[in-house]
């Protein structure tokens, strides 16, 4: 079957224009959740339908696409979305962060610092940071509009009261440019400092919830905290067992039934690159 029976990047031009409008509005009001008419995509909700639509609206034939799932380039979600755009948009794909112009990601920000001209697209399951604190959407919208975020701190207070420290370790709420509190999608809080002052454009798409929000380059993003319990990005207290990096976010991998384990970089491309560099250095 010829995939060119589809329009470029699957969605029709009118839909892409509608999404681009939402993206522009999102960029104009950093952190504000813009409603958009999310479409049915040929994949189930929860598999990145929001991110895919945003990526489709951003792609041009000259783009190079990278897709990350939990840091890895070779897991189901990443592979199938990459294939989807190879077939429907015929764009070049890559696993190298620095070579990509559009990066769709689930749950991680790459370790390599992003540069101007790159676009990072996040898949977002629940865009509303107040969702489990205030059930009424009419009320949360007002709270956003008036910047009434006392409730967000109640959540952090509960964490400290119960666990002795802020135990929220992913989807850690941030405040954008001193106004909107935003859910950064379920990235580990280790990645939160990379949200702010980032050179790349960051776009967030929630397909089921029909919301888009965005961070323009070099936006001020602050993770919420208490004066006596400041925000702390956390990671496993190890170095990567493959590349030896001590400053990356690690996955814990169980290797046998005896409970042996190893810690490896969750960003596979970063880890592989470092291993290759080390080998090249040893060969010289």
């Amino acid at each position: 079957m010829t995939d060119q029976a589809y329009n470029f990047a699957y969605l029709d031009e009118a839909t892409k224009r509608m999404i681009r409008r939402a993206l522009l509005k999102g960029l104009a009001i950093p952190g504000y959740q813009v409603p958009f008419a999310s479409r049915e995509m040929p994949m189930p909700y929860g598999w990145g339908t929001g991110g895919v639509q945003v990526t489709a609206a951003c792609l041009t034939p000259e783009d190079t696409l990278k897709v990350i799932d939990q840091g890895a380039d070779d897991t189901t979600n990443a592979v199938s979305i990459r294939k989807f755009f190879e077939r429907t948009a015929d764009v070049a794909t890559t696993e190298a962060t620095a070579e990509a112009t559009v990066i769709q990601t689930r749950h991680r920000i790459p370790e390599v610092p992003l540069t101007e001209g790159q676009i990072l697209v996040y898949q977002v399951p629940i865009p509303e940071p107040l969702r489990f604190l205030e059930p009424r959407e009419s009320e949360t919208r007002k709270m956003h509009a008036l910047s009434e975020y006392g409730l967000m701190h109640v959540k952090l207070y509960e964490d400290i009261a119960r666990h002795g420290a802020i135990a929220t370790s992913y989807a850690y709420p941030v405040q954008v440019e001193g106004h909107y509190v935003m859910d950064p999608s379920p990235i580990p809080k280790f990645d939160n400092p990379k949200l702010g002052d980032n050179a790349a454009i960051q776009l967030f798409g929630a397909g089921r919830e029909q919301r888009i929000y965005a961070l323009p380059p070099y936006t001020r993003v602050v993770s919420l905290d208490f004066e006596d319990h400041p925000f702390e990005p956390t990671k496993a207290d190890h170095s990567c067992d493959l590349c030896g990096a001590g400053d990356t976010y690690l996955d814990e991998v169980i290797t046998d039934d005896q409970g042996s384990r190893m810690f490896v970089c969750s960003d596979t491309n970063y880890c592989v690159t470092r291993q290759a560099e080390a080998e090249a250095g040893a060969a010289q």
Binding site: K142, L146, E148, G150, L151, H153, V154, Y157, E158, I160, A161, R162, D225, F226, E227, D228, H229
Partner: protein, 254 residues
Amino acid sequence: MTQDQPLLSVRDLAKMYGGRIGCTDVSFDLWPGEVLGIVGESGSGKSTLLGCLSGQLAADRGQILYRGRDTRQMSEPERRLLSRTEWAFVHQNPRDGLRMGVSAGGNVGERLMAVGARHYGDIRETATDWLGRVEISAERIDDRPRQFSGGMQQRLQIARNLVTSPKLVFMDEPTGGLDVSVQARLLDLLRGLVRDMGLSVIIVTHDLAVARLLADRLMVMKDGHVIEHGLTDQVLDDPQAAYTQLLVSSVLQV
């Protein structure tokens, strides 16, 4: 604030539900430190009136001047700011006024955090202090309200509302649904807090005993109208309107 100006001044307030009257022609002044009781039977417009005064319902006519400013003309952000700083609302059912999934300390701390408190230790200290003031032991600070008895929940709701030292407190049947001995303790507590903090209170109740204990002045409502208005003892001991006479004589004597 000067003592020669009423805290709340209401003129010709009316609220209609379609063609039916919620409450109408309500006018009164509330002075700093004063407790005003609103009594009447179910459906007489008490709760509608309280809702209009506290900004939860939009009144159709009239003026509500809070410290000289008309709250009906205020923008919503201003009104919401008032209702989490200088005003407080105690619901009849503590479930409406508490966050049931949040610990007692978090419930008390919410208003503090809503006005910008960002120091965990300070918030916790204030919450502990307030739990003590409403006779809840400090070790229950991390328990959820679900694990509390009805009376404790109501006391927790009061602590949660008073923690930011409001000037004006609205109470909707605060003792409804509690048994008599718990009611008595709660009333005792409320009376103490009102005196100590110099609160102005508007309390809606159908229980004349509560009104007698707490209120300085009483308004009697029937069918959306205020039919009698005066000092509590005067209204209860020498009722003028026929309905008030009926109301007073309907109280069961033990």
